[in-house]
Amino acid sequence: MPRVRRARAAVAALFLAGAIPALSPAPAAGQRVSARTVLDRNPVGVNERFAVSLEVAGVQGLEAQPPIPPLDAFARYAGTSTSTSMQVVNGAWDVRYTVQYNFIATEVGEFEIPAMEVRAGGETVRTEPVTLTVTASPPAATRAGDAGATPEDIFLTVEPSKRQVYPNEPLVVEYRIFTRLNVESYSVTSPPNTEGFWAEEIPLPDGPRVEQRVHDGVVYTSAVIRRVALFPTGPGTRTLDPFTIEARVRVARRRGSLLDDFFGGGVTSTQSVAVSSDPLEIEVVELPADGRPASFTGLVGTLDVSASVDRSQVDANEAVTLTVRVAGEGNLRSLPTPELDLDADFEVFEPEVSESLSRGDGRVRGSKTYSYVLIPRAPGTRTLPSVELGYFDPAARRYATAASEPITLEVTGDVASLPGTGRRSGVETLRQDIRFIRLGNPGLRPAHRGLFDAPAFWIVAFLPLVAAAGALGLRTHQDRLRGDVAWARDRRAAKVAHQRLSAARSMASRSDDRDFHGEVSRALRGFLADKLNVSEAGLMAEDAARRLGERGVPASVTSAYLACMESCDRQRFAPLSGAGAREDLLTRAEEVLTGLGKALGR
C-alpha cells in the first residue's frame, strides 16, 4: 500500500514538476489587472494628513515602484507604505497590492491628483485623475471666525531667544498662546518639522503656567505651551513651519434665551478651533574659518575642563581612574569623547560617561564627566598630558581652547612582571549573511525514487532467503544420505553403475578382457544390489531373478539382465570375443541399467 501511494505521488510530482513555477502565482490568475486611486478623506483641512492610495488589483507586486504623485503644489509628502491583501470574494481570489502615499495638505483650493501609470503583471494600467478639495480649516473643527472666535480672540505667537545663530549654538523657541476665550483643552495637530535643527523639547515642569499679558493694548490670558531647544546643524536660512494646535473653546450660544442670560452666562457649547503660529525664519551664520584650533569640538558656547586621578601613586598593572569633567554652555550632549594623548604603555578602556544638563532661561548648560580606567604597564614617573577642548565663543565671536592641568603619576613596580601587552579582542561579526553553498559533488539521485525502487534492495532482501532455502535442501539431502542406508544406496546406485561402465569402456580398448567383463558385471550387479539394498556378494542369478519378480520388474528386463550377466561370466573365463562384441555388451548393459532404473525407480 505505501508503495502504491508513493508511486502515485511520484508520478504526480513528476507531472507537476514542470508546472510548479507556473502554479505559485495562481491566485492572481483569472483576475483582471486594474488600478485605481483612492483617497482616505475628501475634503481635507489645511495642515491635515491625507493618504492617496494606488490600489492595483490582480497582482501581488509591481514590476517597478511608481513615482510619488507630484502634489508639491498643495501638499507635503510624508512617506509611503505598501501592503498586499489576498481574500476570497464570492468564491474567487481577490488579490490587491496597495501603495499608500501620505501627504499633509499645505494650500487651500481644489486640486487634481493626476492619473498614475503603473506596470504590473505584464501590462500597463492607468488610474483616473481624482479631485481633492483642501479647505481652510479641518471640516470637523470650526474655523476661528465662525463661532464668534476671531483671530483676535485666540492666537499663537512664536518667540525665539535669538534670530541669528551659529551652527550648533543653542536657541530656545517658545510658543505662547494668547486667548480671551475659555480654553478647555488643546491638542497639537502638527508638530512643526525641525529640518536643519537638532531639536530637544524642554519639558514644562508644571504644565503651562497661565498669566495675564497685554498684547497690542489688550489683556489676554497667556501661557507658554511649548518650549524647544534647537541646535542648527549647518549654515543657511532655515524656516520653522507653523505650529498648529486644535483648541477646544467654550463659547456662548448666540440665540440664548433671556432666561439663560439672566441665570448666569446662559447655554454654552464647546467648539474646536484650529490655531496656528506664524512661520519663523532663523538665520544660521557660518563659523569663521580662521583661528580654528586643532582640538575644536564643534561646540558653540563656553567650556571649562578639569582632570583628576583617584590616586597619585599606583603599582604597574593596577588600575587608576582618570576623571575628566567638562562643564559649560552649549550642545554638550553632542560633545565628542576627549582623546587622551597617552604613552603606548598605558592601557585605556572606553570611558564611562555621565552628564547632567539643564535647559532653562533660553540657555542650555550642564556638565559631562568621563571616567577613564587606565592601566600603566611600565613603572616610572609618568605625566598624563592636559586634555584640550576647542570651542567657539559666540559672545566674543572667536575660538577658544579649554585645557586641564597635566597630572603627574608615580608608577611603582617591576618591569619583569609585565604580562603580554598585546590586546586581545573577540572576533567581531561585521554583517550577517547566509552560509556559502556547498561546492563539492552534489551526489544527485533521481527524485521520488525510494529505497524500494532500487533493484539492489530487492536483491539484498531476497539473497539470504534464497540461500537459506538452498542450504536447507542441501542439509536435508546430506542427512538422509547419512541416516538411511537403503535410500542412500538407491540414490547412489545409478551414479556408481555408470562410473563402473565408464571404467569398463576405457578398458575395452585395451586387451585385458577379463577385467573388462568383471567391471561390467560389477556395474550391473552392484546397481541391482544398491537398488534392492542387499549384499552384492550374495546376489546370485536365481536370487536376483526372484527378487526382481517380487518387485514387479517386467520379465524382458529381468531376462536381459540375466543374459548380460551370463555373457560376462562366460567371457571372463573364456575370453574369445573381439572389440565389436565388447561394444555390443556395453550397449546392452546400459539398456539393462535404464530398464532396471525405470522398473525400480521410485
Binding site: 559533488n441 533521481p446 533493484p455
Partner: protein
C-alpha cells in the same frame, strides 16, 4: 546456484550505472551553477539548479544550494522551502540549519513553537540521527550477515561454528530490526507529518474549507512552515507550530 550468486550483484551494478549516467550530466550543470553563484550571478545559478531539480534529480546539496540562490535573489519563502527539503534529506547538516534559522528570522510571522513531548522529540532525534545512505548500508550489511549466520546454522557441523553463527546472527538481526525500523520510517514517511511552506505574501486561514470571510480565524504570511493535517478538494487543514489550526487553499503553499 553459484551462477545466480555472481549474477545478482552484477545486475545490481548494471542498474546503478544505468542510473548514474544521466546523473553525471546533471552534476555538471550543478557545478556550473556553483561557479555562477561564486561569481555573484545568483539568478543564473538559480536557473542552473532549477534545471537539474526539474529534470527529476535531488540531493541535500542541490536543495541547499537552490535555497541559497533563492535567498540571494530575494525569494525568501522558496529559500525556506528548499532549506527545509535539504534538512529533510540531511537532518544533521549544520549549514542548512544555520541558513534556515537566518531565513526564518526574516519572515513576517514570529510563531512561538509548542514544546514537544520529550519522548516524541527523542524519537525524532533518533530517526534523524544516521544519514540515509549509511543507514541503508548498515541494514543491508546486517541483513546479509544474518543470512550468512543462518547458513552457518543450517550447514555447520561443528558445535563451535553453530554457536558462533547463532550469536552473530542474533546481533545482526538486532541491528536489522533497530535500524530497519528507522529506515522504514524515513523511507515510508510514516510518523512524519507532511509539511508545507506558505509561498504567497499573505493568506487568510479559515475555520472551515470555505472562502466565507466570516470564517477567517487568522492570516499567515510567506515563509511560514505549516503541518498539513488533511488535504482535500483544493483546501488543506494546516497546523501552525504554536498549534493553531486553519484551512488554507492548497495553492497558497508548497509541500516540503
Amino acid at each position: 546456484m553459484t551462477d545466480r550468486r555472481t549474477a545478482a550483484p552484477a545486475v545490481a551494478l548494471a542498474a546503478l550505472f544505468a542510473l548514474a549516467a544521466p546523473a553525471l550530466a546533471q552534476e555538471e550543470i550543478v557545478l556550473e551553477g556553483n561557479r555562477l553563484y561564486q561569481a555573484g550571478e545568483y539568478a543564473r545559478a538559480l536557473d542552473a539548479y532549477r534545471q537539474v531539480a526539474e529534470a527529476g534529480f535531488e540531493s541535500a546539496t542541490l536543495y541547499y544550494n537552490l535555497g541559497n540562490a533563492h535567498f540571494k535573489t530575494g525569494d525568501l519563502p522558496r529559500a525556506i522551502l528548499n532549506y527545509e527539503r535539504a534538512a529533510r534529506m540531511a537532518p544533521g547538516a549544520e549549514d542548512v540549519r544555520a541558513n534556515l534559522d537566518l531565513a526564518r528570522s526574516l519572515t513576517v510571522d514570529d510563531i512561538e513553537p509548542l514544546q514537544d513531548f520529550w519522548l516524541v522529540a527523542a524519537v525524532r532525534w533518533w530517526v534523524d540521527l544516521v544519514p540515509r545512505a549509511l543507514l541503508a548500508w548498515t541494514v543491508a550489511a546486517g541483513w546479509l550477515l544474518a543470512g550468512a549466520a543462518v547458513l552457518g546454522l543450517i550447514l555447520g557441523r561443528s558445535p563451535g561454528l553453530r554457536r558462533a553463527s547463532a550469536r552473530g546472527g542474533l546481533i545482526a538481526a538486532a541491528v536489522v530490526v533497530i535500524f530497519g525500523m528507522n529506515l522504514a520510517v524515513r523511507e515510508l514517511g510514516r510518523g512524519r507529518a507532511a509539511e508545507g511552506v506558505i509561498l504567497v505574501r499573505e493568506v487568510a486561514a479559515q475555520s472551515a474549507p470555505s472562502p466565507d470571510p466570516n470564517l477567517t480565524v487568522f492570516s499567515i504570511h510567506a515563509g511560514t512552515k505549516v503541518r498539513l493535517d488533511e488535504v482535500s478538494d483544493g483546501w488543506a487543514e494546516v497546523v501552525l507550530e504554536d498549534g493553531r489550526v486553519g484551512w488554507v487553499p492548497t495553492v497558497s503553499f508548497e509541500r516540503i
